[in-house]
Amino acid sequence: MVEIKSKYVYAALVLIVLAFFFWLFKLNGLLIIAGIFLFFFLPYYIIMKNLDLTQPEKIFFSFFIGWGLFPTVVYYLAIVLSSMKLSVLVSFLLLLTISLILNWKLSKNKTETTS
């Protein structure tokens, strides 16, 4: 049997998921699933991937922590900025920046420890 490379399988799965949301809810569906991935998952996974956890643990913990943390930041920033829309954007950029800095620090520490 010819083994299909993992990256093609995962790319196909992503396409299937996107097609599913587009099929049922058109562009709104695509935007929502993209929003869930970007706001509730990505920034926290960037940090979590450095921790001594299994892959499913990293994925699940990232999502459920992000799901609670993102609206917290959005809500209180929105009080300061007086706009929900602006706050969504600023919160995402802020959390992403923090996670990238932490990721850089954590991976740097890891490299120093292993060397």
């Binding site: 049922l24 809810f25 706001f39 499913p56 459920f64 922590i65 009080i79 007086s82 929900m84 969504v88």
Partner: protein
């Protein structure tokens, strides 16, 4: 019986991921059926209130600190007398995370209804993933996938999702994660290779679980307490490090007030009322032994929860899965490894919580609703019964038989459970269960053409669902109505009204000529023809008053 060994997380394979995604998309297809073809909101009273609050943030582009002045729709709760005591400053009465997430999805989806309901469906159906995660971590991919698969058809979860008890549904999602994380942490302590990261993640999960709804926090806490006792007895050691627990308690005590500062005062007020209500003897007396040996024997009945909610037959598609549940329990009781004790603890903890009246602790009227959490224990144990059935018998074709049983079970689920679930979702809130197209068009016109904060009298829409949902759809205006009355007469804002809606659509839907004529007579008395601002098919009219 199987050898007693500590579970290791098996590496996830491509096949497993494919099955996981395909099954979940199937689940999501089912769970989104109520709004795939009609973009009209639905649900019971709680649903319309939650939609209103989120839609207000979306519509105004402002975070909600104080509850807006739409008291008719918000004041319908049976707790309204307590409301002033609990929330004198009229702050948003949920932790802000709950409604903010909905509003974020409405913003990002650029659609109030799809944004709200698609996010809701994705989150509520994620119970598939969290139960899979717990059971996969403990018993491997097949038991994990089967447990998650069964959750798709959990009637209790489907009802809460459709009716609108979304806070409970959200807090419920955390329980498998909380149990898993505590299991991993306590195992690491017992193995003397402590991994505090699990303790800190557990603390964070508990913070967010508490914010979404405290009920799941207490139920999960009860289960963890029972597991700790059983584990301590079995391993003859305390399965946690006091210092780490203290740090976790500190994380919790700091983050909860930090993340919901406006709600903390009302939270203590609410707890006070809940504890007081527990002291009221709202439950009828049931025989001691009937209670002791009964699972569903609820003293006093359902208390607003339908009777079928307390029947295994009605909730689990008949009795055909009961043998697997019993086999699963037998497997856990006979095996008693730490992971088995964890799952057993969920049952024991739940039994203790729902039987506290036996030791004189009255449970209050609302406690039967706790049974919502039952499916999270029963379905994984049923899955365990299916996958471990062959572990009781030793013979050569054991493995083939195991897979034959699993395949047969999955086919049976597809034939029995899907047959019920599909029409349930497909016909949810059909007809007068939600607003009609005319009312939706009218609401869109009002949003665009009537000044913000206007008071609008609603005449005609006779059901509370129509009244509440119409308010939810026009969040920046105040609808003046009296619950289940055609003409409002008691609403405190009656004299502030500057606009009038004459909603004939319900009567047209039923071709109720008498109703139409009666409403037309009312219209003639209450309005002037030249003040008519909007009219769609003679079914929904908006007048300027005065």
């Amino acid at each position: 019986m199987e050898k007693k060994k500590r579970p290791r997380m098996i590496k996830i394979t491509k096949t497993e991921i494919i099955i996981l995604i395909v099954v979940y998309l199937f689940a999501l297809f089912l769970w989104t059926l109520p709004f795939q073809d009609q973009s009209i909101p639905y649900g019971e009273g709680d649903a319309s209130i939650n939609f209103f609050l989120s839609n207000h943030m979306f519509s105004t582009d402002k975070p909600m600190v104080y509850v807006p002045n739409a008291t008719s729709v918000l004041g319908i709760s049976s707790q309204s007398e307590d409301y002033a005591k609990v929330n004198p400053n009229n702050y948003l009465f949920y932790a802000p995370q709950f409604h903010t997430n909905f509003a974020v999805m409405q913003i990002i989806g650029n659609n109030a209804i799809i944004g709200f309901y698609l996010y809701l469906a994705i989150i509520c159906s994620s119970i598939f993933f969290t139960v899979y995660f717990l059971m996969r971590g403990l018993y491997g991919p097949i038991t994990g996938l089967l447990s998650g698969f069964l959750m798709i058809f959990s009637v209790r979860d489907q009802l809460s999702y459709i009716w609108g008890q979304w806070g409970t549904a959200f807090t419920f999602l955390f329980i498998p994660l909380v149990l898993y994380t505590y299991y991993k942490y306590s195992s690491s302590v017992i193995e003397k290779k402590e991994k505090p990261i699990y303790a800190y993640i557990l603390a964070l999960l508990l913070v967010f679980q508490f914010l979404f709804h405290p009920l799941g926090f207490f139920i999960g806490g009860g289960m963890i307490a029972v597991y700790t006792v059983l584990l301590a007895i079995k391993e003859k050691t305390i399965p946690f490090n006091y210092k780490k627990v203290l740090i976790c308690v500190l994380i919790f005590m700091v983050l909860v007030p930090l993340f919901e500062p406006l709600m903390i005062k009302q939270l203590s007020g609410r707890l006070d009322i809940d504890i007081n209500s527990m002291q009221e003897d709202t439950t009828e007396k049931a025989g001691f032994f009937a209670r002791l040996f009964g699972w569903y024997n609820i003293p006093g009945g359902g208390h607003g929860v339908p009777d079928f909610y307390f029947s295994f037959k009605n909730i689990y598609y008949g009795y055909w899965m009961l043998p697997f549940l019993l086999i699963g329990i037998a497997y856990l009781a006979l095996n008693r490894t730490n992971k088995d004790l964890l799952i057993l603890s969920t049952l024991i903890g739940f039994y203790i919580i729902t039987h506290l009246d036996l030791v004189g602790i009255l449970l209050g009227g609302k406690y039967p609703r706790i049974f919502y959490f039952e499916s999270i224990m029963f379905y994984p144990i049923i899955a365990l019964g299916v996958t471990k059935l062959t572990s009781f018998i030793k013979f050569k074709g054991n493995v083939i038989l195991k897979y034959a049983i699993i395949a047969g079970f999955v086919i049976a689920v597809l034939m029995i459970n899907v047959k019920t679930s599909y029409p349930f979702f497909n016909t949810a809130y059909d007809g007068i269960g939600r607003l009609n197209d005319v009312e939706m068009q009218g609401a869109a016109w009002i949003n665009e053409n009537i000044p913000k904060n206007s008071y609008i009298m609603l005449v005609g829409a006779p059901t509370f669902k129509q009244q509440a949902w119409l308010q939810a759809m026009i969040p920046e205006k105040v609808i003046v109505f009296d619950e289940n009355q055609i003409v409002p007469s008691k609403d405190k804002d009656l004299n502030k009204t500057t606009y009038l809606i004459m909603d004939y659509s319900f009567f047209y839907l039923y071709n109720d000529q008498q109703g139409i004529a009666a409403l037309a007579a009312l219209e003639q008395n209450m309005t002037k023809e030249d003040n008519l601002k909007y009219n769609i098919k003679e079914q929904f009219k908006v007048f300027k008053l005065g």
